[in-house]
Subunit: 280 residues, 2 copies
DNA sequence: AAGTGGTCTAGACCACTTT
DNA sequence: AAGTGGTCTAGACCACTTC
């Protein structure tokens, strides 16, 4: 894939297309490169060069060319591959780094972000103890089941109603105190062979397992939070009184390409913990 | 303040101080500038040039040299003032823009962020309707009172226990339905002369009023969310049943320099709304 | 010593806005 | 036409890591 650069379109955004229109003439380009792509019939989506580079890098992440935890090529190498300057690659990687898709390490290189890392552990776990330092909870898998996706689940996962989904119920405890009841729905097509046993024997965050065992890396999630009261079933699982107020956290998680791959409904007991959020 | 540049220290971070040690020798600097600041006795905090520039710009924001909504000097002008290249100023402003302290507008310039803008309205209002598009709630001020700061309030506002604080209670409604009960505590020293009347006659977000009338612009906030049940008093104010589950949102808001200037406890009714949050 | 990302500068051209 | 921010390039040097 050495000639990936030919796909880079250096073009005027939002401008009428004229033959050989070229935003950045050769005099301003990397010396010795003859890249200027032809225009006719090109896709109607124009964007700055660094955005195109960013998109190409994202595609390589999505395709699995570079896997979570792995080192990606150096900025100089990518610049050479895409036939652009290092500065342009740099700006693309800057944004990917800001979005937590990659992690830069001075002197070592740029790595694909992974959930097998201390720094990623609490990015998707927002419940923190009122006193003391955050720590990771213990997991207890209550149930793993295959079922046909109900309409609402299918809609949010962007699959067809009735498609196979994996349902998981688990309880998470802090220092032995049951605190979180999670119900998860995962597309069956992606999470083939997921069993309670594998979930139980795996130590560490579930997103790490998803990443390693099913090639699915979560990049972002969208949550909706409401207050509810515990019903009989929930009260029993969390060992609390029926009617205890709980946070109801509905999450849709996305992998590369903003594809939804997890639906989660968490019930959080907030008598000793709180959901933390920074507004900025 | 044309010679502000003399305060810029171009130095090696994390390195033993040697006479005239200079990270960026004149050959790499703006031609014709003789800036290199002397070293002896300098503050022990070293950082990249653009961070120092960022800090200088922040100081001007904090001092009120440029007020919310106003245009700040162009990148070229700032570069000239601080005796650095435009690229360095640019990187400083990039970060300020990412932190929502300023807003760039191509062709027009860079403006100090303000809460009198549609784009800022929902940055600190996370409650959205389950159906339909978000819109701003109606305000009803229940009570405005001066009191002595209780210990907990004083601690969070970083003032002395017993110092004067302004207490505000208000109810916010969506389409006439009471949904949010807010209790606020504000440092009395900053919010002198704040009355129920002024709050009531002011239309628009309260942070806009704080900005215009009291020179206090909120830049970020930290929230802790829990689930509770409505007591008798709350139930009456929100016109709901006692025991209804509510979100309890505790917020500390900060102005320039990360100085806490507002403590807020919001109770959110989430039967028709939800608290939205993006994890990334 | 070599390679990586991090910082800084300089200069060019573009898109957008205002005069 | 002039001024602003936005993009792209090129080259230099630095800090950090590994060999």
């Amino acid at each position: 894939m050495d000639d990936a650069g030919v796909f880079v379109v250096k073009l005027q955004p939002m401008t009428s297309i004229t033959p050989n229109a070229n935003l950045y003439p050769a005099s301003a380009m990397s010396s010795g490169s003859g890249v200027a792509a032809s225009v006719a019939g090109a896709s109607p989506t124009f964007s700055p060069l660094y955005q195109q580079i960013k998109s190409l890098i994202t595609q390589s992440l999505q395709s699995g060319e570079w896997k979570p935890g792995e080192l990606i090529p150096s900025e100089m190498e990518l610049a050479s591959r895409f036939k652009v300057s290092q500065g342009t690659v740099r700006k693309a990687i800057d944004e990917l780094s800001a979005e937590n898709l990659v992690v830069r390490r001075q002197g070592k290189g740029t790595f694909v972000a992974t959930h097998h890392e201390a720094r990623a552990q609490f990015r998707f776990l927002r419940l923190a103890p009122d006193e003391g330092v955050p720590h990771y909870p213990e997991n207890r898998i209550i149930e793993v089941r295959r079922l046909r996706a109900p309409a609402e689940v299918a809609r949010l996962l962007e699959i067809k109603s009735g498609d196979s989904v994996v349902f998981i119920r688990r309880v998470q405890s802090f220092s032995g105190v049951p605190t979180i009841l999670d119900d998860l729905w995962l597309p069956g097509s992606i999470f083939k062979g997921l069993t309670a046993e594998r979930l139980n024997e795996y130590k560490g965050p579930m997103y790490g397992l998803f990443e390693t065992e099913f090639g699915t890396h979560m990049i972002r999630a969208s949550e909706q939070i409401r207050a509810i009261c515990a019903d009989e079933t929930v009260a029993q699982l969390l060992q609390i009184e029926k009617g205890t107020p709980l946070l109801n956290v509905e999450r849709v998680s996305f992998t590369y390409g903003d594809k939804p791959v997890e639906l989660r409904r968490g019930l959080y007991l907030t008598s000793q913990h709180h959901y933390r959020n920074e507004l900025s």
